[in-house]
């Protein structure tokens, strides 16, 4: 197992009443698996992914990645894990507008002291997602689908074992969606596990397993 979540609960206050955005969720993802989650807006999908990525601490329950419990790690260790082993593509456009496409892809490399030059790897990842000619462009000149592909290339820069993606196909036209789904299928075929939240109906044909989320509860389809 690359990722294991046990009985995760995340509670928030809403109008002074406690409610569970994520309720008793357990989930395991094996190496090289392709897992998809579907569910209505507000059902708790993003909250769950934030917890699985170690950005958010659950109210109760535990998460471990490659055998290491998040609870036992400090911020530095968790950050390094997110930086190298776990690529996380957050919901929405998460490309920084003041950097070029290539610089955006290079970003994860600079947060820890490293001696290698990742430029060639970044360029070949851009090639892989079909953006090589746009490497020196700024994000403002890119389409929605292209921006999603930039974040995919960026999440792959440090060769993670698991890629978590929150609606990477959101607000895209059908053709672009299938391009992106194809991209993820390719990533999985090279051995990287993928956990993805999507509304795409074709997802079922790519995924090893499908889950649906409803009012904070996760159930396998």
């Amino acid at each position: 197992m690359i990722l294991e979540a046990r009985e995760i609960k995340k509670q928030y206050h809403r109008d002074n009443i406690l409610f569970s955005a994520v309720n008793d969720v357990s989930l395991s993802i094996g190496e090289g698996e392709f897992v998809c989650i579907v569910g209505r807006s507000g059902s708790g999908k993003s909250t769950l992914l934030n917890i699985l990525a170690g950005l958010l601490t659950p109210t109760s329950g535990s998460v471990s990645f490659e055998g290491r419990e998040y609870g036992g790690m400090n911020d530095g260790e968790l950050s390094r894990l997110r930086n190298t082993r776990l690529g996380y593509i957050m919901q929405g456009h998460n490309v920084l507008s003041n950097f070029t496409v290539l610089q955006n892809v290079l970003l994860p490399h600079i947060f820890f002291k490293r001696d290698d030059d990742p430029t060639d790897r970044a360029l070949s990842l851009l090639e892989q997602v079909g953006l090589r000619p746009l490497a020196s462009q700024y994000p403002s000149s890119l389409s929605g689908g292209e921006l999603h592909r930039v974040s995919i290339a960026r999440a792959l820069l440090m060769s993670p074992g698991l890629l978590i993606a929150d609606e990477p196909t959101g607000d895209l036209d059908e053709e672009t969606v299938s391009e992106i789904m194809g991209l993820f299928a390719g990533i999985v075929s090279k051995g990287t596990a993928v956990l993805m939240v999507t509304h795409n109906s074709d997802a079922a044909s790519y995924a090893d397993r499908m889950y649906t989320m409803q009012s904070g509860r996760l159930s396998e389809m």
Binding site: S41, M90, L106, T119
Partner: protein, 406 residues
Amino acid sequence: MRRRSFLTFSDVVVSNLKRRPFRSFCLISLVAVLAFVLFGGSLITCSLINGTDGLAKRLGADILIVPKGYDKMVEGILLRGEPSTFYMSADWIGKISQIEGVRSVSPHLFVASLSAECCSVPIQLIGFDQKTDFIVTPWLRTSLPGELGDDEIVIGGSVSGKVGSELMFFDRGYRIAAKMENTGTGFDSSVFMTMKAARRAAGDYVSMGGTFSPPEESISSVVVLIEEGFTAVGMTRKINSTFGYGKSGIVVVPTRTIIGSVSGGLRAMTAFTVILVVILWVLSVLVLTIVFSVTLNERKQEFGILRSLGITRKKLIALVFLESGAISFTGAAAGVFLSALLVFPFRTYIQETIGMPYMQPSFEKMLAIAAASLILSFATGPLASLFSSSKMGNSDAYVVIRDGGL
């Protein structure tokens, strides 16, 4: 050599500052104004304190005696080197030296040169008696070879001219025999010559159409040193009572009263500078704090992205501090630099405008003032981001984006 990678951490800092050029420019300007006032104000104040400090010692006399009604002018001559002309009888030299408690007396004769073609500079010419002098000699940069000739002069520290070259006064050339050190007094812009030469210069002035000529055997002032155990104020009272206060035709001025009037003005100016600097400093920190915490809200998403890519909380806070530090450092350096660019070349102008003894501190001290101004102005940046970084540090939910229709 390692190939320079496309992106470094400092690139992120610079890029974030460039992204909002107007904002960055305004904040840098604000800190620059602070640093400018801080360095300029401190340097000028320090130079004034320096100029006033030990002014009595540098003036070299305890008491001055001038004709009645001219005590205000003496201040101008001694502090600012303002040319003026007034006379009294030379008998006073003998009369004063008779009084018990007087150690030495030396006469001065003032002649104001003109700004007309006949003279190199409009300046106070002072005739002095080399035998009894205790004012000029201690300040000589290079000692006089012997007795000063009647066509030779000694120039003050800020009068331009090289030893050996000539200056013209009333169409007569004078060889510069020696130059004095800077004393921070009006002597710096005065020219000293023998009594005989000064009297002759006054005659030259009259023959060129001047209206005022000193009577034969007259002087302008007597400078007095007193014996130990006597006070300047006590001696002033004694001289006044000996010759009849108000009737004698002379005024006795303890040099310390002149300095008193100077340091009163200086106190006011120092207080003004300090208040201005404090207000500016607090204002800078306040404005920066507000701007930084407003932008922190705008930047939630950006920070969330960086966190998702594995930046540590420490490094994220470092980023915030580096950005504010870069702003305040740039401003501080620019402000100190601009201030130095103005204060150094225009020091004579500043000195004339303020009209107080002005003496720049030593190079080491000025360097220390520059460093202190730089540090104090620079500190505003990191200090201002303390608030926003503390808000950032304690909660992770803060940097995780809630999905609003992005």
